[in-house]
């Protein structure tokens, strides 16, 4: 029963920002920092942060689904991954799209930031993306599929 309630809460939170009129506010962002501020202001986002690691798989699913589809929903998923403690699956799931430069625009740097944080690396914002791509390629070489 509890699991069903939690699943419903997570889905309800995702539904709250999944309307284009809502997530489209991210079109106002001019930088990763501004995008994070806008993302955290959207309905449902704080609920998922409050739920914490239990929301991780749903956020990961959202990222996998939208990474090549919708930039703004991808931004929200990346913001959530930056706020919700997750395990090494996050690192591994970001390595390949980062290495192949699949993320674009603000998401490229956000993904780089989440990836480097998961490796415990704090890199100057100017160098974050190029460092993340380099580290992602290294990780893939060390852990072939």
């Amino acid at each position: 029963m509890e699991n069903t309630d939690l699943t419903a809460r997570i889905q309800a939170a995702i539904d709250r920002f999944s309307d284009r009129e809502v997530y489209g506010e991210l079109m106002l962002a001019s930088s990763p920092a501004a995008a994070k501020k806008i993302a955290e202001s959207l309905p449902g986002v704080k609920d998922l942060v409050a739920i914490g690691p239990d929301a991780g798989p749903a956020v990961q699913d959202l990222l996998n689904r939208e990474a090549t589809n919708d930039n703004q929903l991808t931004t929200i998923a990346l913001y959530l991954l930056s706020r919700i403690p997750t395990d090494t699956r996050t690192t591994d799931s970001l390595a390949r799209p980062l290495a192949s430069q699949q993320f674009t625009g603000i998401n490229a740097e956000l993904a780089g930031e989440v990836f480097l944080n998961s490796l415990g690396q704090d890199v100057n914002q100017e160098d974050r993306y190029t460092t993340a791509v380099r580290e992602a390629k290294k990780r893939i070489e060390q852990n072939p599929p």
Partner: protein, 152 residues
């Protein structure tokens, strides 16, 4: 990609559509969506040029719309002086902050004789380049907190 440098020789990171890590240019549907968003936030704002992902507010303000600049801090450090908002002049720039986060830059177009800022031009993310008043920006951009002037 052209390297944009401050007068101190430091490169300022930026990108150009459609090259990585920049995104692609907006399609017609997205352009219309952005226009609607601008009207929702300020129906009195006047479009100067159409929505685009080619440049952002910082690129417009500090690099003549050269590209998308996510981190304009080196411009401020090397080429601009910070002044009180009350001393605004045309061609100065207003910075909008939400707490400690730099959210937006806008160029001052018109000021009264006693320093009241009447009109600014700024690019709202992927939205249009717009003409607006000092407080006529989306609320999420926070407050106009800093005034910067290009060092002569």
């Amino acid at each position: 990609m052209t390297t944009i440098r401050t007068t101190q020789g430091r490169a300022v990171t930026h990108c150009h559509v459609p090259h990585s890590p920049c995104t692609r240019e907006l399609n017609a549907d997205e352009v219309e969506f952005c226009r609607r968003k601008a009207r929702q936030h300020n129906p009195d704002a006047v479009e100067i040029s159409q929505p685009t992902s080619i440049y952002n507010c910082h690129g417009f303000a500090y690099a003549e719309s050269h590209g998308w600049f996510s981190h304009p801090e080196r411009f401020f450090e090397d080429d601009f002086d910070e002044l009180p908002l009350e001393s605004a002049r045309e061609d100065d720039f207003v910075i909008y902050m939400d707490d400690e986060t730099l959210m937006h830059s806008a160029k001052i177009i018109q000021v009264t004789g006693d320093g009241e800022i009447l009109e600014l031009h700024s690019k709202w993310g992927h939205l249009a380049l717009l003409s607006h008043t000092l407080h006529g920006v989306p609320r999420i951009y926070g407050r106009p907190t800093h005034l910067v002037r290009r060092r002569e």
